[in-house]
């Protein structure tokens, strides 16, 4: 394997007493679209700012393409950033904004013109070059910020919540656009986001952070289907969490006990998980019994409490006799569908032990 393009090695950043980033180590490979995901205040932005050079770690090292950048000022790092507010210079035209980083390097004349044209074409702003930022929409301003950073041909492009200021439709459009751009330019992207859907749909790999620590680094599918921590399971998507008693552990499996499920064998998220909760995704539970029952499925009696209808799918909230609340999602696959059960009606919920996972609570 090639050496990582970004190597974060035991980095800690303290503001006063609190550690905003606590002993974080991440290796990011060249050409990856990497996401730092977590709730606000988890340290993801501080980590990104340390990559850019706006903050200096108290401990640890940051290597970019093999060079120690820990104490190198931002203007001498081979990385560029797209700011959350875009930070497009309001007193310069689109063209001057895009050209700024090259003029700083002393590039001028024909090469400057060619590369500015190229960068503007890449973000489809050729017809806006003479405009001032206040004559642009939010999405266009963001494209200026992107072109301005990419024109420098950085080794790594840093994106701080790049889509948070856009409305929903535009955000979805820009998600695709950013992924397309990343393929096109072949530059490593490191994106900070608090939006799990954004991270899942855009990134190749995601680091989930909480309270300054990295809990899990994995590809989107692994994060969703094999979370190692309760926090990760609950932060990414929706999940049913059940407190269980662990009877014994054996390699990748654990024998657990729960009043509803009885004593069953489930998968363990990691070898060090010896206590914790069992999680199940709402779409893995079954409410429709039109299909034949699956072998080994556990059936639970429940009462439908509430239904949330989203069009393409519905969330059904049920409660079991012992008080356990569960949510089940079901796709409204065809128009002849009879629809969701009525609130207050009795139903049965099917759970297969293969869809359960024992995760740590730490």
């Amino acid at each position: 394997m090639r050496p990582p393009i970004v190597s974060i090695d035991g980095v800690t950043k303290r503001f006063g007493e609190t550690a905003a980033v606590d002993q974080v180590s991440i290796d990011i490979q060249a050409n990856e679209f990497f996401a730092l995901l977590g709730p606000s205040g988890c340290g993801k932005t501080t980590l990104l700012r340390m990559l850019a050079g706006f903050e200096t770690p108290n401990e640890g090292r940051i290597l970019i393409d093999g060079d120690d950048m820990t104490r190198v000022p931002p203007n001498r790092r081979p990385v560029n950033m797209v700011f959350q507010s875009y930070a497009v210079f309001p007193h310069m035209t689109v063209e001057a904004n895009v050209a700024y980083g090259l003029k700083v390097e002393g590039i001028g004349g024909a090469e400057l013109r060619r590369r500015v044209d190229e960068a503007l074409a890449m973000v489809r702003l050729e017809n806006f070059r003479a405009r001032k930022p206040d004559q642009l929409s939010g999405g266009q301003r963001q494209r200026v910020a992107l072109a301005r950073a990419l024109i420098k041909r950085p080794k790594v492009l840093l994106l701080d919540e790049p889509l948070s200021a856009l409305d929903k439709k535009l955000r979805e459009q820009m998600q695709l656009e950013l992924v397309r751009l990343q393929h096109e330019v072949g530059i490593t992207f490191v994106m900070v986001t608090h939006d799990q859907e954004e991270a899942l749909s855009m990134a190749n790999r995601i680091a989930v952070m909480d309270h300054g620590r990295v809990l899990q680094i994995a590809d989107p599918r692994t994060l969703y289907e094999h979370p190692t921590h309760r926090f990760v399971a609950e932060f990414i998507g929706t999940v049913n969490s059940l407190d269980v008693e662990v009877r014994s552990v054996d390699g990748p499996h654990a024998r657990i006990r729960h009043p509803l499920l009885g004593e069953i064998t489930v998968e363990r998220a990691a070898p060090d998980v010896e206590r914790g909760v069992v999680v199940a995704r709402p779409e893995k539970l079954r409410l429709d019994f039109s299909a034949p029952p699956v072998d080994g499925e556990i059936l639970l009696d429940a009462v439908v409490e509430q239904i949330a209808y989203y069009g393409d799918l519905s969330f059904v909230f049920v409660r079991c006799p012992d008080g356990t609340a569960l949510q089940i999602s079901r796709y409204n696959v065809n128009r002849q569908d009879k629809g969701d059960p009525a609130a207050g009606s009795l139903c049965r919920v099917g759970i297969h032990p293969d869809d359960l996972l024992l995760v740590g609570t730490g």
Partner: protein, 302 residues
């Protein structure tokens, strides 16, 4: 809660005291002066309003025009010096810690707690021949002479200390204007730097620009509204000052303000003084129009 905003009566009531005050004690007296500028002296106190333009003709006499250009020059030099001193100060306050910031701002406005006349007199104590600048220089001279004595070089510094003439010249007037009006430069600069989005400065550094380049290509252009306001707030009163030039200036430091003052007092020529005042006021209007133009352009930038 919102409804009172929609009532036009509320605005009228809220503004009435200030508008009335300005009308009675500013606009109407100003109107009198304007009318007097077209009058002729008819006795020790009597003035006939004949709508003559003679006062304006007298006011642009080469003698007064020379004083006017000197005032312009001294005001301009003072304004530039104030800007150069105030910018780093404003910059430092902007980036000071939240705890230090109010203290620094208080220090900037602290001189306002003292009457300007007293502050200007205090400057005399500082700058005069036996004032403490010269006193300090003398101490330095003596220390230097003592240190050089063993080498037989004591004569190098001259026979004895000659105090510098720091007072009663144009430099002292410039010094006085900068000293008195510096807060008027610092505060608008601070206000516009404070509004500046920090991420713009970070973006500039991120794109490879040095701190130096960032300052001149991002910070300064975006502080232009503050710079323009500061220049106005220092230049306009500096043009009209007579107290500072009277106390700190010498015979060749008379400014247009001194001439106007003398017309109203010693010379008892109100019509001429009024005409001169209005010429100065028209110049101020031109500057204000320029500032409005700058602001309009900056709003265009968002």
């Amino acid at each position: 809660m919102q409804s009172w905003r929609e009532s036009p009566g509320v605005v009228v009531v809220l503004l009435a005291p200030a508008v009335l005050w300005l009308l009675l004690f500013f606009l109407i007296p100003l109107g009198f002066i304007w009318v007097i500028s077209f009058g002729e002296r008819a006795g020790p106190v009597a003035i006939d309003i004949t709508w003559t333009l003679a006062n304006y003709r007298d006011a642009i006499d080469p003698l007064y025009l020379g004083l006017f250009t000197r005032s312009l020059r001294i005001a301009a030099i003072s304004t530039v010096i104030a800007l150069v001193i105030a910018f780093p100060v404003a910059f430092a306050i902007t980036f000071a810690s939240p705890r230090l910031k109010p203290i620094l701002l208080l220090l900037v406005i602290l001189p306002f707690f003292t009457n300007m006349l007293i502050r200007t007199y205090a400057m005399i104590a500082v700058l005069r021949r036996n004032g403490y600048v010269n006193f300090s220089l003398e101490q330095l001279w003596e220390a230097g002479a003592f240190a050089l004595q063993p080498f037989g070089l004591a004569g190098m510094l001259g026979e004895r200390f000659v105090p510098l003439d720091l007072l009663y010249n144009n430099t002292a007037v410039v010094f006085g204007i900068v000293y008195v009006y510096l807060p008027f430069m610092v505060l608008p600069l601070y206000a516009s730097l404070e509004r500046l989005d920090r991420s713009l400065l970070e973006a500039s550094l991120d794109l490879g620009a040095s701190q130096f380049r960032t300052f001149f290509f991002v910070t300064v252009p975006l502080a232009v509204p503050g710079i323009v306001s500061g220049i106005m707030l220092v230049f306009i009163p500096a043009m009209g000052t007579f107290l500072i030039s009277d106390l700190l200036g010498g015979p060749s430091s008379q400014l247009i303000g001194n001439v106007i003052e003398r017309q109203f007092k010693a010379a008892n020529n109100w019509p001429l003084g009024a005409a001169m005042s209005f010429l100065l006021l028209y110049l101020t209007f031109v500057l204000l129009v320029l500032r409005a133009w700058f602001e309009k352009r900056d709003r265009g930038r968002g």
